[in-house]
């Protein structure tokens, strides 16, 4: 019974691991922290798994646990890198793509997103993942109206970071 649960969980996580990697690349700046956070999220997912009833999609449920771990539980390592080092996979942009203005702009955008606070990052993350406002509001525990208000503020913040 337990073996079966383990197997089911690991298989589902293996198939959906992208979600966790994306959260990690948003909330950490180097590979070690990325792996640490991935592990912590995995532990929290596994601990919560027996209560997962399957009435929601496994991936939807994962977003919640992964973001909650990043926002509330995870303590950044002491050797936190203040400057952006672009070591995390998703933010790495190959140098040969540099000349392209669009790539350049994207790099700036990713950089700006990285400078946001934990909650703002969560909003941007859910937005990038194509979640609607009702899911964003449910995940964070705020009303839909407030989620929209907050999102607008985040957009303004990004604008200020990009055009100081």
């Amino acid at each position: 019974m337990n073996k079966e649960l383990e197997h089911r969980f690991v298989t589902e996580l293996e198939n959906n691991q992208n979600i966790v990697h994306k959260v990690c690349s948003l909330y950490t700046n180097d590979r070690d922290s990325h792996n640490d956070l991935f592990q912590e999220i995995t532990i929290q997912l596994w601990k919560a798994y027996p209560k997962f009833r399957g009435d929601a999609k496994f991936s939807t449920w994962m977003y919640r646990v992964a973001l909650n771990t990043a926002i509330t539980l995870y303590r950044k390592s002491k050797k936190r890198i203040q400057t952006q080092d672009y070591d995390s996979v998703i933010f790495k942009i190959k140098t040969d793509e540099y000349d392209d203005t669009q790539e350049r702009q994207l790099k700036l955008m990713y950089n700006a997103v990285k400078q946001l606070g934990d909650i703002d990052k969560a909003l941007v993350f859910l937005y990038l993942e194509d979640k609607d406002y009702s899911e964003i509001s449910e995940t964070l525990g705020i009303t839909e109206v407030n989620a929209r208000v907050k999102m607008n503020r985040v957009k303004n913040k990004l604008r200020t970071i990009l055009n100081p």
């Binding site: 383990e6 969980f9 690991v10 298989t11 996580l13 293996e14 691991q17 992208n18 990697h21 994306k22 690349s25 991935f38 592990q39 912590e40 995995t42 532990i43 929290q44 596994w46 601990k47 919560a48 209560k51 997962f52 449920w61 919640r64 646990v65 973001l67 909650n68 771990t69 926002i71 509330t72 539980l73 995870y74 303590r75 950044k76 996979v89 998703i90 669009q102 702009q105 994207l106 955008m109 990713y110 606070g117 934990d118 909650i119 941007v124 937005y127 990038l128 194509d130 449910e138 995940t139 964070l140 525990g141 705020i142 407030n146 208000v149 907050k150 957009k155 990004l158 604008r159 990009l162």
Partner: protein, 214 residues
């Protein structure tokens, strides 16, 4: 700006191909690793606190101390205090346990953060309660020693020869108050630091979400 975010969204989804890929075995190994989350730390700190204060109570309840208390005529007062103390400690343990059980990562972020802060609040209340009990015990003990204790009587007599009674008791009161205040301040600072380190980020994030509702 909206367009730029849209652009980012498209790129974001394209990037999935470049993400690391962990194997079944990698993930399987991870589920048996120990969590390093702050909730676990709060849990350990709380257990240490419950044990520490219960230990202090037990150390001061040995038969020898009890005899001394009887000699000093403060035995009854101390017994009542102890009785109240144990009752309240049991209540706190129950409260702590039920709050701790409520922590669920499948709740919304805001609710989850509130539950974690509630657990911390229970522990803080427990510590303050113990400090109050501790202070009352100190005051009763000082009183008992000075009025009924052998050495206490000598101290009082010696003091009364040098100055008048009122000045002496005022001095006793002032010294007690300063001593207690310094002690409380140190403990308060210790907790401020401890939970400050552990919960600073969580508190900031929680307040950010809460601020929206106003």
């Amino acid at each position: 700006m909206v367009d730029e975010l849209e652009l980012l969204k498209k790129d974001w989804q394209k990037k999935e191909a470049h993400l690391p890929k962990l194997s079944y075995d990698d993930i399987y190994k991870m589920i048996w690793k120990k969590s390093s989350s702050i909730v676990k730390w709060i849990f350990y700190i709380s257990i240490i606190e419950f044990v520490f204060w219960a230990g202090i109570n037990i150390i001061f309840s040995d038969p020898e101390s009890m005899q001394e208390l009887k000699a000093m005529h403060i035995y009854n007062a101390m017994m009542v205090l102890n009785f109240v103390n144990y009752g309240v400690i049991l209540y706190f343990i129950y409260q702590f346990y039920t709050n701790y059980k409520k922590i669920s990562f499948t709740d919304s972020s805001k609710k989850l953060m509130k539950t974690i802060l509630d657990v911390k609040k229970t522990v803080t209340h427990y510590v303050w309660f113990n400090l109050i009990i501790f202070t009352i015990t100190m005051v009763i003990s000082i009183y008992g020693v000075l009025i009924y204790g052998q050495e206490g009587k000598q101290i009082v007599e010696a003091a009364l020869q040098d100055s008048n009674e009122v000045t002496f008791w005022v001095m006793v009161a002032i010294v007690s108050i300063i001593f207690t205040a310094v002690l409380l301040l140190l403990i308060w600072l210790f907790y401020k630091l401890l939970y400050g380190i552990l919960l600073k980020r969580l508190k900031e994030n929680y307040n950010e979400l809460k601020k929206l509702e106003v």
